[in-house]
């Protein structure tokens, strides 16, 4: 009766290790895939918003550029905090609101992304230069393209 529970424990632990191993492996792949899918969607949204640039409120917004290494996620959240407003009511207002809402969706986490939070202190959003909506959107697109070109995505 002594050896049996011991064996059972070992089997259970082995199974748990195997299970967590497969789940972890899957999730890291999935995390990267989901992030890339979301980034592709974001580029499409930015391109669409660029078409409505004349309907946006011309207020200057903080637009990070030349973002420091490993501060890309923090810079991206600065872009997300901004509420792009429609300047005039009209047919385009609804579309603009839908698009800006989609911009604000949280990015899927990845292993590299989690590391970014704890590392350096990144500049605050207000410290970045303010630009009109057109340049804001262009810089957002540049940031996404830069992130996709990195090897620590």
């Amino acid at each position: 009766t002594r050896s049996r529970p011991g064996n059972m424990e070992r089997i259970v632990i082995c199974l748990m290790v195997l299970f967590s191993g497969t789940v972890a492996h899957k999730s890291s792949f999935q995390g990267q895939d989901r992030l890339l899918i979301r980034l592709r969607q974001l580029i499409d949204i930015v391109d669409q918003l660029k078409n409505y640039v004349n309907d946006l409120d011309p207020e200057f917004l903080p637009a990070p550029e030349d973002v420091k290494r490993h501060c890309e996620r923090s810079a991206f959240s600065c872009f997300q905090k901004i509420q792009l407003k429609s300047a005039n009511t009209g047919d385009n207002e609804k579309i603009i609101n839908v698009l800006t809402k989609q911009l604000k969706r949280k990015l899927p986490p990845t292993n590299a992304g989690k590391r970014q939070k704890h590392k350096l202190t990144c500049p605050s959003c207000d410290s970045y230069e303010k630009k009109p909506p057109k340049e804001f959107l262009e810089r957002l697109k540049s940031l996404i393209q830069k992130v996709c070109n990195l090897n620590y995505i």
Binding site: L36, P58, E59, F60, E65, D66, E129, K130, Q145, K146
Partner: protein, 424 residues
Amino acid sequence: MEWPARLCGLWALLLCAGGGGVAAPAETQPPVTNLSVSVENLCTVTWTWNPPEGASPNCSLKYFSHFGNKQDKKIAPETYRSKEVPLNERICLQVGSQCSTNESEKPSILVEKCISPPEGDPESAVTELQCIWYNLSYMKCSWLPGRNTNPDTNYTLYYWHSSLGKVLQCEDIYREGQHIGCSFALTKVKDSSFEQHSVQVMVKDNAGKIRPSFNIVPLTSHVKPDPPHIKNLSFQNGDLYVQWKNPQNFYSRCLSYEVEVNNSQAETHDIFYVEEAKCQNSEFEGNLEGTICFMVPGVLPDTLNTVRIRVKTNKLCYEDDKLWSNWSQAMSIGQKANPTFYITTLLIIPIIVAAAIIVLLLYLKRLKIIIFPPIPDPGKIFKEMFGDQNDDTLHWKKYDIYEKQTKEETDSVVLIESLKRASQ
């Protein structure tokens, strides 16, 4: 007569009050001073100015600036503004001062300063100056000579980007028909903020007679990758699995693909446009490192299929996605459609026929005479007809009539007349 004058006075008073009321809060600052412009490198233009004199003491000065047509507005506390601009046309900056970073605040009177292209006839400048970055390794720029220029002009290309300390000259000049071009090395420094930057390019001639031409090439566009290499083709469950390796220096997620499948028998030509491609271990035998896979549906395995692939940069990582790489080397799979079989049968049949004829000729003389009739000899025929008398008269003797009459035969003859006399 009095009340129009009174009305006018009232009107004037109202205007003054109104004007005064509006003017007091919106006090614009004085304009900036000493606005000047200078050029660094090839195309980095910097405008600098001094703060205005007599600004309000409790105003933290910010400067509002924009280019012609109110483009590229900027509000910032710096007393300079820099921009990379190709100096092929005149460009002007207008600057004003204000007290906050609000876009709605009215700035001071704007002061303008322009910069003109270098001297020279605009018609003489080279045209169609364009650059392509090949596989993130070297950049090739090409141009056409300007009008009214000497065909013997020697051109020089200068280039600069932020990783270089100074402007460099391109050595490798070549001519391709009408176009002249130059090629120089350009590699991406890993993980630097190279992505936002550009290469500044200037073309001018050695004699200094033509007006220089400028181009600014962003490093996130005009990229042409090298062609990929197909590593493996295999059939599984009626589908064709293609496995290839992308050109170096590119992440797979940054490329879009086009897979072309040619079937020689069915004479089909299919092109598949692929956005994302990945290799899952379970489906591909012997998964090679760093390869990309794609499954082509509906391919006939018994026929010869030829596959080619090309790639281009996609919008996820680069600004433009117009330049396709060259096609990769083709790789084929499937049975080769019987040309050897047909050739062998075509060769064997004549051989058999020839052998049969030889055999028959040897063993059948009649056949031989039919096929190879004896050649008539006219001399012999004439000899037979009029031949030598000495030789051959003997065989004519049977036809001699005189010879025939030598044989004697006697028969008794009875006279009938004598018989008649006797009876009388």
